[in-house]
C-alpha cells in the first residue's frame, strides 16, 4: 500500500514534533511581543499628541496639570483636561474602531480593499448625520447628538447590507464589490453635497466638519461612549475569532465545518455598522485607517483572528494617533483636520495594494 511522500522542499534538519511545537510557541510569543510593541507605540504617540499643541505649554507644565489639576489656572486645566486629553484618546478610540471594522469587513467580504471608507459606509453615515443636521430630523426624547448617531448608524447598516448583497451574488468578483462600493461613495457624497447646498450657514459649518473628519470636537462623553461600545463589540468580535479565521479559508469550507456563515456575517455587519457610524457621528469621515490597519496587522501577526483583530485595532489606533500628531505639526499654529492627513497617507497605500493585487493576478 503506498504511503504519502514528504511534501515541500527537502530540509537538512527534519522537523520533529518538538521542533514544530517550539517554533510555533516562538511564533505566538513573537505575535504577543509585536502586539505589545504596538500598544507601547500607541502610548508614546498618545503622549506626543497630548504634549504638542498651539497653546504654548511646555510638556512639563502639561504633565504637572495632568497630575495636579487643582493647582493649575482654569484655562490651562481646560486645555489639558477638556481639550488635549479627550482629543488624544478620541484618536485612539476612533482608530481602533475603524481598524476593527476594516478587519472584519475584509474578512467577511473576502476583499483586501474593503474598509468603511473605501466602500461608502462612512459616506453613508455622513449622509445620515447630514439629514439630522440640515433637515432637523428628530424623535421626541432623543437629543440631537443621539439622533445624529442613530441616523448615521441606520445608513451605515443599510450600505453594509447592500454591499453584502452584492458580494454574495454568484458572479460577483472582488472588482464588482469595490466598484459598487465606489458607486456608494460617490452617491452618498453627492447626497451630502445636496444637503450642503440646502443647509443654513450653521448647519453647513457642521457638515464641512463631517466631510473633512476632525478630532477637535472630542469630548469625554463621546470618548467614553466610543470606548465602551468598542470594548463590548471587540469582545463579540474575539468570540467569533475562530469562525472568522475559518471563514478566511473559504465560505463553503467554513460552512462545511459548522460555521453558520449567514449568522456570522450578519453579526459582523452589525458590529461594522456600529463602529463606523459612531466614529463618523463623533469625528466625521476619517479615510483609509480602516483599510490600512488590517494590512499592517496581517503583515505583523498573520490571519489568526485571535491576534489579527486586536492587531488591527492597535494598528488603527496608532495610525490615527500619529495622524493627529502630524495634523498639529504640519502647519505651525494650525490643527489640520485629521481626515486630510489620513487621506494623504492612505491614498499611496491604497494604490500599492491595488498594484500588488494586479501583480499577483
Amino acid at each position: 500500500m503506498p504511503h504519502l511522500p514528504a511534501s515541500g522542499p527537502a530540509s537538512d534538519t527534519p522537523l520533529t514534533s518538538n521542533v514544530i511545537r517550539a517554533a510555533y510557541s516562538a511564533t505566538v510569543r513573537k505575535r504577543v511581543q509585536r502586539l505589545s510593541l504596538l500598544v507601547c507605540a500607541i502610548a508614546l504617540s498618545c503622549l506626543a499628541d497630548f504634549a504638542i499643541g498651539p497653546a504654548g505649554l511646555s510638556p512639563a507644565t502639561l504633565f504637572h496639570i495632568l497630575l495636579h489639576p487643582d493647582t493649575a489656572p482654569v484655562t490651562q486645566r481646560i486645555i489639558v483636561w477638556d481639550i488635549r486629553l479627550p482629543y488624544s484618546l478620541m484618536a485612539v478610540c476612533v482608530g481602533a474602531a475603524l481598524g476593527l471594522a476594516g478587519a472584519e469587513m475584509q474578512t467577511i467580504l473576502a476583499n483586501p480593499l474593503a474598509s468603511p471608507f473605501t466602500l461608502g459606509i462612512s459616506a453613508a453615515s455622513a449622509f445620515g448625520a447630514s439629514l439630522v443636521l440640515v433637515l432637523g430630523l428628530s424623535v421626541s426624547g432623543i437629543p440631537e447628538s443621539g439622533m445624529v448617531a442613530l441616523c448615521a448608524f441606520t445608513f451605515a447598516l443599510a450600505s453594509v447590507l447592500l454591499l453584502d448583497g452584492v458580494s454574495r451574488r454568484r458572479q460577483a468578483t472582488t472588482g464588482t464589490v469595490v466598484l459598487f462600493g465606489i458607486a456608494l461613495v460617490f452617491s452618498f457624497q453627492a447626497l451630502v453635497s445636496l444637503m450642503q447646498f440646502m443647509a443654513t450657514e450653521d448647519a453647513l459649518q457642521q457638515l464641512v466638519f463631517w466631510t473633512l473628519g476632525s478630532l477637535v470636537r472630542a469630548s469625554w462623553p463621546k470618548v467614553a461612549l466610543l470606548a465602551g461600545v468598542g470594548c463590548v463589540v471587540s469582545v463579540f468580535s474575539l468570540r467569533a475569532a475562530w469562525n472568522l479565521t475559518t471563514l478566511r479559508m473559504g465560505e463553503e469550507r467554513a460552512a462545511s465545518l459548522g460555521v453558520d456563515v449567514q449568522r456570522v456575517r450578519r453579526a459582523a455587519l452589525l458590529r461594522i455598522s456600529l463602529l463606523s457610524a459612531l466614529a463618523v457621528a463623533f469625528v466625521g469621515v476619517i479615510g483609509f485607517v480602516g483599510l490600512v490597519a488590517p494590512h499592517i496587522a496581517r503583515r505583523l501577526l498573520g490571519e489568526d483572528h485571535r491576534f489579527y483583530l486586536p492587531g488591527s485595532m492597535a494598528a488603527g489606533a496608532l495610525i490615527l494617533s500619529l495622524s493627529a500628531v502630524a495634523a498639529r505639526i504640519l502647519v505651525p499654529g494650525v490643527v489640520v483636520p485629521t481626515g486630510i492627513v489620513t487621506s494623504l497617507v492612505g491614498i499611496p497605500f491604497f494604490l500599492a495594494i491595488v498594484l500588488r493585487r494586479e501583480g499577483e493576478a
Binding site: 500500500m1 503506498p2 504511503h3 504519502l4 511522500p5 514528504a6 511534501s7 515541500g8 530540509s11 527534519p14 522537523l15 514534533s17 514544530i20 511545537r21 517554533a23 510555533y24 511564533t27 473576502a110 475562530w242 469562525n243 479565521t245 475559518t246 478566511r248 479559508m249 473559504g250 463553503e252 469550507r253 467554513a254 460552512a255 462545511s256 465545518l257 459548522g258 460555521v259 453558520d260 496581517r298 498573520g302 490571519e303 489568526d304
Partner: protein
C-alpha cells in the same frame, strides 16, 4: 470487524431546485455503510456535489438524512457537521495562516463545547499532518503552498474533526498521480480503522473500480445505478451516462480498468 451498532448513512427524498431548475428529483441514496468507501459518479452537472451538500445540510432542500437512528436533518448545522462532514471541492484559500493553525482553526470551528487545551490542539494537528506526511509544512503559511498541498491540508482538516461520515467532493482533483493513490490508501485505512462512512465524488473511473467498495451513478438528477463497481460500470451504462464507447477490462494483476474506444 464492525461493531454491530455501527450506523449507516441514508438520504431519502432529496429534492433540490435552483429557481425553476430541478437539480435532484426525489433521490434516495444509501444506505452508505461504515467501514466502506463509496464513490458518487456521473458526468458534469449530474448533481453529485449538490447531493453531497444536501446530505451535509448546506443547501435548502427537502430531504431526510439519517445516520443510524439519528435524523441528521433535524440537527442544527454545528452539531450536524460534527457527525457528517462535507469537504468542498474548492481548495482552502491561500491565507497568511500557518498550516498548523489552519488545522487548529478547523478543530475549533463550530464546536459547541471546545474543551481541549492548546497542547491538545497542537497534538491533534501534528498527528494528522503526520498521517498525510506533510508535517514539514506545519509552519508554512497556506499562502506559500501549492494547490495540491492545500488540498492535502483540507483533507487533514476534515479527518481531524473525526466525524462518523465523510463526504469528500473531488478530493483528488489537485493531486498528482502518486498523491492520488496515497490519499486513497490513507482514506481506506482510516475508513476501516474508525468504521468511517466515506463517500467521495470521483471522475476517475479506474480509481472507482479498484479503490472503492460501492458506486452510485447519478445522471440527470436521478440515481441511475448503484452497487459493486464492476457490476455497475458496464459498457451500456458508460454509453448512456458518459456518452462513450468503453469497456471494462481486467489486467493480469486482477485490477480493472476502463478502456475508452471513442465518444458515442
Amino acid at each position: 470487524m464492525l461493531p454491530p451498532d455501527a450506523p449507516s448513512l441514508l438520504a431519502r427524498h432529496v429534492t433540490v431546485r435552483f429557481g425553476r431548475h430541478t437539480v435532484l428529483q426525489d433521490v434516495t441514496a444509501g444506505p452508505f455503510q461504515p467501514g466502506k468507501i463509496c464513490a458518487l459518479l456521473g458526468p458534469n452537472g449530474s448533481g453529485k456535489s449538490t447531493l453531497m451538500r444536501a446530505m451535509a445540510g448546506l443547501l435548502p432542500c427537502s430531504a431526510t438524512v439519517t445516520l443510524g437512528q439519528d435524523a441528521l436533518s433535524a440537527l442544527p448545522l454545528a452539531q450536524r457537521t460534527q457527525r457528517c462532514l462535507y469537504l468542498p471541492q474548492a481548495l482552502p484559500a491561500p491565507v497568511d495562516l500557518p498550516v498548523l493553525e489552519a488545522l487548529i482553526a478547523a478543530r475549533h470551528t463550530g464546536r459547541l463545547h471546545p474543551s481541549h487545551t492548546q497542547e491538545d490542539d497542537i497534538e491533534s494537528a501534528l498527528h494528522w499532518l503526520e498521517k498525510f506526511t506533510i508535517r514539514d509544512l506545519a509552519l508554512k503559511n497556506m499562502s506559500a503552498l501549492s494547490g495540491g498541498q492545500r488540498q492535502l491540508v483540507g483533507l487533514a482538516q476534515a479527518l481531524s474533526r473525526q466525524p462518523d461520515a465523510l463526504l469528500l467532493d473531488e478530493p483528488l482533483s489537485a493531486l498528482d498521480l502518486h498523491h492520488q493513490f496515497a490519499v486513497m490508501a490513507l482514506l481506506r485505512r482510516e475508513t476501516i480503522a474508525h468504521h468511517l462512512i466515506t463517500v467521495l465524488v470521483l471522475h476517475d473511473l479506474n480509481a472507482a473500480l479498484n479503490m472503492t467498495d460501492h458506486v452510485v451513478v447519478l445522471h440527470n438528477g436521478v440515481v441511475k445505478a448503484s452497487g459493486a463497481p464492476t457490476c455497475v460500470l458496464t459498457p451500456a451504462l458508460l454509453r448512456e451516462v458518459y456518452r462513450v464507447h468503453a469497456r471494462v477490462e481486467q489486467g493480469a494483476d486482477g485490477r480493472h480498468f476502463v478502456s475508452v474506444d471513442g465518444i458515442a
